[in-house]
Symmetry: C2
Subunit: 168 residues, 2 copies
Amino acid sequence: MADSCRIPQARALLQQCLHARLQVRPAEGDAESQWVEVQRGLVIYVCFFKGANKELLPKMVNTLLNVKLSEAENGKHVSILDLPGNVLIIPQATLGGRVKGRNMQYHSNSGKEEGLELYSQFVTLCEKELAANSKCVEAGVVVEHGTYGNRQVLKLDTNGPYTHLIEF
Amino acid sequence: MADSCRIPQARALLQQCLHARLQVRPAEGDAESQWVEVQRGLVIYVCFFKGANKELLPKMVNTLLNVKLSEAENGKHVSILDLPGNVLIIPQATLGGRVKGRNMQYHSNSGKEEGLELYSQFVTLCEKELAANSKCVEAGVVVEHGTYGNRQVLKLDTNGPYTHLIEF
């Protein structure tokens, strides 16, 4: 783990789900809350740090969509593209926090605007990757994503989240 | 983030839940699967690395149970002890993985036996901490935990997981 000396530009947490529901718009007045959901998918919680460069994004997308962490019918692990499965991207700036005493500090997090820009581009690149993959297109798998800045109200059903952390 | 140069001894991922159910024993023959569940609690996924020293554990417990990440009725963040809330500890060795190409490697993880020993002691220390806290005892909050080595089949309902990472 010697190269963890480098301050990361981004942090991604991956979990495997049978089903996930994420609120993308809270209830307001008469309008009900709005949700997205995925079946049999990869949940990617993502956070960007100060100084993160958008040139990082294609590499992030390539790594996260090709890493072999999804369980196929035969028990072997394949990428989410090869499964093929759905992807749920959740903005999770809290992942950038660092504990100090009893509090968390978020000094290394990207600014709000930079974070939104990077997050939006990350989502778009993931969508493009799935759209360019014939196996995914045939299976009709999709990328859903949370609304940056909102409370990420999440319901998760798993057969084991198989949680992994990848830094960039 | 300069001191991330130090190889961690342990990694903990924290999520806030409204309700969580975790399988602690899979179905076998005629015996049904067994589950534990917590309401309104802190989920701690934990992983130990090679060379982790048991002297680390009291500090880990102190930090994780006192960090102010749980949302009180008034919207402020308090520790799980102060909420007071339940704790669900999930062994998650996968958190120790490091990506190499399309695969994850777990070279830095503790051995199976050392990991079990550290995990068991960690759970015990958390139980003791809650049992020694009068607010927790009065409220009847508990520590539940997963079975080390099993598939951690988890169902999670949140009002936002508010995911945080803490390394030791």
